[in-house]
């Protein structure tokens, strides 16, 4: 069994799969796909993943893409129990809803903000939409320690990657405004494998974002940059 993960660590969905692989203690090879160089658009990559996104997982002779599909596949195939992706239909439905919230709301908003920043080079970012998302995540966590209930699941891995990147750059999670979300972020970032699987990549992406940040975020930028340098909160 040879697992190969194609991607780049600045990408949030790639990091979600890295968190899952580490949580399952699986051996894998990492194949760097340089998006800025257009590696993902080359025929060899497109033949594996016609949607030409990252991450893509190779398991033996099969190729799977979409981080959420990959994470579900890995747990169902390799985990010793179903804790990370419960088999019971109702519990699973909650995890699935959180995963689709990530792909439909969180991910799309984050991508739209990145597009404005990197492609359209705007000087003001509409981060209200991100805050709307934070507000919903705050509600999902009401009465629970994890995104989909009382135990860690792939929903936590999926959501933490883009939230941590936004937290380190344009929209820090204010603990007074979002106490549940802030506590959850600290909780997830304390996992033993978090540093390697998510932290490094999130910080790299955050630096790229902050390098483009409009002047209005100067103070925010300063604080966030200091947080990064000091490694504050392990985030």
């Amino acid at each position: 069994m040879v697992l190969v993960l194609y991607g780049t660590e600045v990408s949030a969905p790639v990091r979600a799969v890295l968190l899952t692989l580490r949580a399952l203690e699986l051996d894998y090879e990492f194949q760097e796909v340089d998006l800025t160089a257009g590696d993902h658009l080359k025929p060899d990559y497109v033949s594996k993943n016609p949607q030409h996104t990252v991450p893509t997982l190779q398991d033996g002779g099969a190729y799977i893409w979409d981080s959420h599909a990959i994470m579900g596949y890995l747990v169902q195939k390799y985990a010793k129990d179903d804790a990370l992706y419960p088999r019971e239909p109702l519990q699973r439905a909650i995890v699935d809803q959180r995963l689709h919230f990530e792909s439909g709301a969180l991910s799309v908003r984050w991508k739209q903000l990145k597009h404005l920043l990197f492609e359209e080079k705007v000087t003001e970012l509409p981060i209200e939409k991100l805050h709307e998302t934070y507000a919903l995540l705050e509600l999902f966590l009401d009465g629970h320690e994890y995104m989909a209930g009382d135990q860690l699941t792939i929903a936590d891995f999926s959501i933490v990657t883009s939230v941590s990147t936004a937290h380190l750059s344009i929209a820090p999670v204010d603990a007074t405004k979002y106490p549940n979300l802030s506590a959850w972020l600290t909780r997830i970032s304390s996992l033993s494998f978090y540093e390697q699987a998510n932290s490094t990549g999130a910080r790299r992406m955050a630096e790229l974002v902050r390098a483009k940040l409009p002047k209005q975020f100067d103070k925010l930028w300063q604080k966030a940059f200091e947080d990064i340098k000091s490694g504050a909160g392990k985030m």
Binding site: D66, A69, I70, G72, Y73, Q97, S103, A105, K111
Partner: protein, 221 residues
């Protein structure tokens, strides 16, 4: 089996994905129309069940589930006689899951909702050109996914077909599907139209088209 209640409106594509699935499974259910224009989804009662205040929402014997994809996966897992609509084989399932997330992100959020949110929430009457590009991207990818297969996730009908068809048949009100360019996509839609319960989608599509047209929305040339 407890009582199943589906909350939604026919015009909504994800509600139609649930209706198609319920019909495919032959499951009886109560249908409660949610008055979205009247902000019924923001009522205390609704928010208690679904803090994200979206439709569709499913109640099954007291338990509340939302997000159409989570709902349809749940329904097959709990009630189907076999796994054909949502294969247990992990590789086949991964393809269905990828298509479902493609529908969530690329189709519903990025293509459809990015257009309808300004229309329904801010009274916008003009669809900007960039949003049309997002629709073309959808049609292009679906044509690719269907290249070697009769159904969206492989050689058999799955819930991915229900999810994707509900959204893709709603997009033509903004950009028609060019049958000469999208041969596979057009053939696949026609294939699904033959399903005996397809009216669970087509009726709502007409309502959605009617709604958009009645608002006088045009596309930037």
């Amino acid at each position: 089996m407890g009582k199943i209640t589906l909350y939604g409106v026919d015009a909504s594509p994800p509600v139609r994905a649930c209706k198609l699935t319920l019909a495919a499974l032959g499951l009886p259910y109560d249908y409660v129309v949610v008055n979205l224009m009247g902000k019924e989804n923001l009522s205390e009662a609704y928010l208690k069940k679904n803090p994200q205040h979206t439709v569709p929402m499913l109640e099954d014997d007291g338990a509340c589930i939302w997000d159409s994809h989570a709902i349809i996966c749940y329904l097959v897992s709990k009630y189907a006689k076999d796994d054909s609509l949502y294969p247990k084989d992990l590789l086949k399932r991964a393809v269905v899951d990828q298509r479902l997330h493609f529908e969530s992100g690329v189709m519903f959020a990025n293509a459809l909702r990015s257009i309808t949110a300004p229309i329904f929430m801010h009274g916008s009457k003009m669809v900007p050109k960039e949003r049309i590009q997002a629709i073309i991207e959808v049609y292009d990818f679906l044509e690719t996914f269907l290249k070697d297969h009769d159904y969206i996730a492989g050689d058999h009908l799955t819930i991915a077909d229900f999810s994707v068809v509900s959204a893709v048949t709603s997009l033509p009100v903004f950009l028609e599907i060019d049958a000469a360019k999208y041969v596979k996509l057009t053939a696949w839609i026609k294939r699904l139209e033959k399903l005996p319960y397809y009216s669970e989608n087509s009726v709502g599509v007409q309502q959605f088209f009617g709604l958009i047209k009645s608002l006088g929305v045009t596309v930037e040339a």
